[in-house]
């Protein structure tokens, strides 16, 4: 009995007191793998451990109140509700879902396929372009993979593409969406790491383009060497009228006209501003219009109107199906990059633009709007319930010194900066087998980021940042790290046998497609991912150069 009491005393007062954070992590892992909703597991485990920790006098239960306070936000905290940045998320989700449900996305795929028909592997390339442009916005990898598989896989199999190439292309292109802006993951990352969303978006552009360029080269090479796996599209199946020349002339005439007109008006406005009388603060009428923006919107609208008039020809398809989505994405990203709009404003404008596109496409029915609203509500609820749970978890984890345990552990390993980076990357890679980016971004990143920040000065020479003041170095290292994590996660989602993008794909693919074929198809893309990741690791300027340029 004496021995038992002593053991009990040691267990509660020493062992548990010190390692409660570690047990909390273990319990979380157990609950997550039991298949409960992640948000419930996070919230419940943090509550139980908050009570336990209070019971052994490690914290006071008031800490749990700050979990609520922090999920609410305000006071410059990165909460879920009082936080203007995160308003962008439902808007981006709405935009992506609307483009998909209104068949704007399907039309884009159709027209891309026709435009690229002479290129080897044209259909696969169209899928890559689609992924690059718009798969970003739907919120979770699982849903994006399901959508794109339903949209593109039957079409590719009908065109007698090899199932391996078809499935590999779809999985890789869709997951590229988490990296290429507008990406919800980057919004969340920026919010958590307290960096600018716009800069992170800009930083992700080049790495994303490098990856999509690698896919492009691979597909073209593969299709040229062995045309049997990617046959050219049958000319007979394309049902198009010849283009009406007068419409082509009309459209390009309007484009040139609008651009010229806006240029002239801008010049006039400038001279009017310069010619104001001394001390006159009133802006002249002509300078009160954004002529460039008006020209942009005029071209946008005339493209859609002429495209409708032109109807079912190649040119009409381009004007109706290709130009408007490209313009919309350009508008959204361009206004963020130019510093003209905050990500939230850009997202709202993008969501509105998607409604306009659906309307011009003639598919804006009440039913579609209802479906899109419900799906947006579901995705938003999913993202932010995890956000609330993860906030509760990290609050209690930090209060019970769980983070210090991890930092102590890393110090005990006595790793240098580089081995440490590889260790963290490997950990993220392994976690990506089981978890979507939401859990990893919201739970793991807040733990890893301070570690990387602590080692920031050691990365400075590699990033070409010597001589800057420490805060600036830390910021740049964090941008680089965030993008590395993004590329790494994407790779992880694709890697067999666990990569869960592949499971979702198998779930909705026609039964003729075997899991082995999906596995075989993805391996070349995983190799490309690893090359891409090494490029970003080796040339950090890929992620840092463009934001720096934009700032100047």
């Amino acid at each position: 009995m004496e021995g038992f009491l002593e053991f009990w005393h040691w267990l509660i007062d020493d062992h548990l007191y010190e390692y409660i954070g570690a047990y909390m992590f273990l319990a979380l892992a157990l609950m997550l793998f039991s298949g409960l909703p992640v948000a419930y597991a996070l919230g419940g485990v943090s509550l139980i451990f908050a009570i336990l920790a209070t019971w052994i006098d490690a914290i006071t239960f008031k800490e749990f109140f700050s979990a609520l306070n922090r999920s609410y936000g305000g006071d410059g905290q990165s909460g879920a509700i009082q936080n203007p940045i995160l308003v962008a998320i439902p808007c981006f989700v709405f935009m992506g879902t609307m483009l998909e449900k209104s068949r704007v996305a399907a039309d884009l795929l159709d027209i891309l396929q026709i435009m690229l028909k002479r290129v080897p592997g044209g259909l696969a390339l169209s899928v890559t372009v689609m992924g690059t442009i718009m798969a970003a916005t739907t919120g979770i990898i699982g849903a994006s993979v399901v959508m794109m598989t339903l949209l593109a896989l039957p079409e590719m199999l009908k065109a007698r593409y090899a199932p391996t190439l078809a499935t590999g292309t779809i999985a890789a292109s869709v997951t590229l969406g988490i990296l290429i802006p507008p990406s919800i993951m980057l919004v969340l990352m920026a919010n958590l790491l307290a960096v600018s969303v716009g800069n992170l978006f800009i930083g992700a552009i080049l790495p994303g383009l490098v990856l999509s360029g690698l896919y492009f080269m691979y597909i073209v090479a593969r299709a040229s060497i062995n045309p049997a796996i990617a046959p050219r599209i049958d000319e007979d199946t394309i049902d198009l009228r010849p283009s009406n020349n007068s419409n082509i002339v009309l459209f390009f005439g309007m484009v040139v006209g609008f651009v010229a007109l806006s240029y002239v008006l801008e010049t006039l406005a400038e001279s009017a501003m310069a010619g104001r009388a001394e001390g006159d603060t009133a802006t002249p009428l002509i300078a009160q219009f954004n002529w460039g923006l008006f020209a942009f919107l005029a071209i946008f609208i005339s493209s859609m109107v002429i495209g409708r008039r032109e109807g079912k020809s190649l040119f009409g398809g381009i004007l109706k199906g290709f130009v408007p989505p490209i313009f919309l994405i350009t508008l959204v990203l361009g206004s963020i990059f130019a510093g003209w709009a905050t990500p939230t404003e850009a997202a709202g404008v993008g969501a509105f633009g998607s409604i306009v596109l659906a309307y011009m496409n003639g598919t804006l029915t009440k039913d579609v709007v209802r479906q899109v609203c419900h799906r947006t509500g579901l995705t938003t609820a999913m993202i932010f319930f995890i956000f609330v749970g993860a906030t509760a978890f990290s609050t209690i984890f930090r209060a019970t010194y769980g983070e210090d345990l991890i930092i102590e552990f890393i110090e005990w390993l006595e790793l240098g900066a580089w081995p440490l980076l590889f260790l963290l990357m490997f950990a993220v890679f392994l976690l990506g087998f089981f978890f979507d980016f939401l859990e990893i971004t919201l739970i793991i990143l807040p733990v890893f980021a301070p570690v990387i920040k602590a080692f920031a000065p050691e990365f400075a020479p590699h990033l070409g940042l010597e001589g800057l003041f420490p805060g600036k170095i830390e910021e740049q290292v964090i941008y680089w790290f965030a993008i590395l994590v993004a590329v790494n996660l994407q790779t992880s989602f694709l890697t067999p046998p666990f990569g869960f993008a592949l499971f979702y794909m198998k779930g909705v693919a026609p039964s003729s497609v075997k899991m082995q074929e999906i596995y075989r198809g993805i391996i070349p893309f995983v190799t490309l991912q690893v090359i891409g990741l090494s490029i970003v690791l080796y040339f950090p300027n890929l992620a840092l150069w463009l934001p720096a340029l934009m700032l100047e």
């Binding site: 039991s34 409960l36 609520l68 308003v87 399901v146 995890i386 509760a392």
Partner: protein, 284 residues
């Protein structure tokens, strides 16, 4: 499943945990000097105990043959959470409209000039109000859809090991998670949300920026509503889970149809499939 389970076990569960939950009150009642045997902070476990009492009560009612009543209770709870969530989903449209309005009034020069005139004349800026209103709407949207998301199985799960379990096993896991983790968590969050709201209401908290939207207690009160609605969904699902596990054959079958989180019967995937087919047929 044939034959009902005996009401003895659930009755013991209810009695035991009701005693534990009310233990501190009971001791007060008898004027006991001794401390609670759960320690000084034993009352913190109360949400967990209460949740287990609810679990026991539902099982008791099933065992006593009130399955039909419980079924309609589950339908009402889940239905309420669903309708509220569906209604709240529409908030995205006014949110987009407000952002558009805000962008137009601030970025198009001529309207901006006109807008600035209003601010000068009347002494307040619509723009600041609208920017605050944006995150208010966003907050309501996300809080009120928590329960809807759970019932539609939109919340992320790690399905890798759950897939191997039978349907009965999956329901058991869910029941455990709801009773021990989800409902206590939401109970505590609701309680804290009340304190949070109350402090804001009593102090008549306004906007930080002087010109923004005041009345912060309104949005803070939605924290309470959000967790309450999420709790409705969780309770409704708990009722259905227990009917699945302990009800008679008919109740079992009906509950099985109404539960939507089985790995081989994913409601969201089905929804996407159906919508996609509908869209394709509509397109042709």
């Amino acid at each position: 499943m044939s034959g009902r389970a005996s009401p003895l076990i659930p009755a013991i569960i209810v009695g035991m945990f009701l005693f534990l939950a009310l233990e501190s009150y009971i001791e007060d009642l008898f004027g006991a000097e001794s401390e609670s045997f759960l320690g000084e902070v034993g009352h913190l476990w109360r949400p967990v105990f209460l949740s287990i009492v609810v679990y026991g009560l539902i099982r008791l009612l099933i065992a006593l043959g009130h399955g039909t009543t419980l079924r309609s209770l589950g339908d009402v709870l889940c239905g309420a959470a669903m309708s509220i969530g569906k209604l709240a989903s529409w908030i995205i449209l006014p949110l987009i409209a407000i952002i558009m309005f805000d962008v137009i009034t601030r970025k198009i020069e001529i309207i901006k000039v006109w807008n600035a005139g209003i601010t000068e004349t009347y002494g307040f800026s619509v723009s600041f109000l609208l920017q605050d209103f944006q995150w208010h709407l966003h907050g309501v949207l996300l809080l009120m859809t928590f329960g809807f998301g759970y019932i539609m199985n939109a919340h992320v799960r790690v399905d890798i090991f759950r897939e191997m379990a039978s349907r009965r096993g999956q329901v058991r896991i869910e029941t455990f998670g709801l009773t021990i983790l989800a409902i206590p968590f939401m109970l505590v969050m609701t309680g804290f949300a009340w304190d949070f709201f109350y402090a804001s209401f009593v102090g008549w908290e306004g906007s930080e920026s002087m010109v923004g939207l005041g009345w912060r207690w309104i949005i803070k009160s939605f924290l309470i509503w959000g967790f309450v609605v999420a709790m409705l969904a969780a309770l409704g699902t708990l009722v259905r889970c227990l009917l699945f596990l302990y009800g008679d054959d008919e109740e079992h079958a009906i509950a099985e149809d109404s539960l939507q989180f089985f790995t081989d019967d994913d409601e969201l995937a089905k929804l996407i499939l159906e919508e996609n087919q509908g869209a394709q047929e509509g397109g042709r």
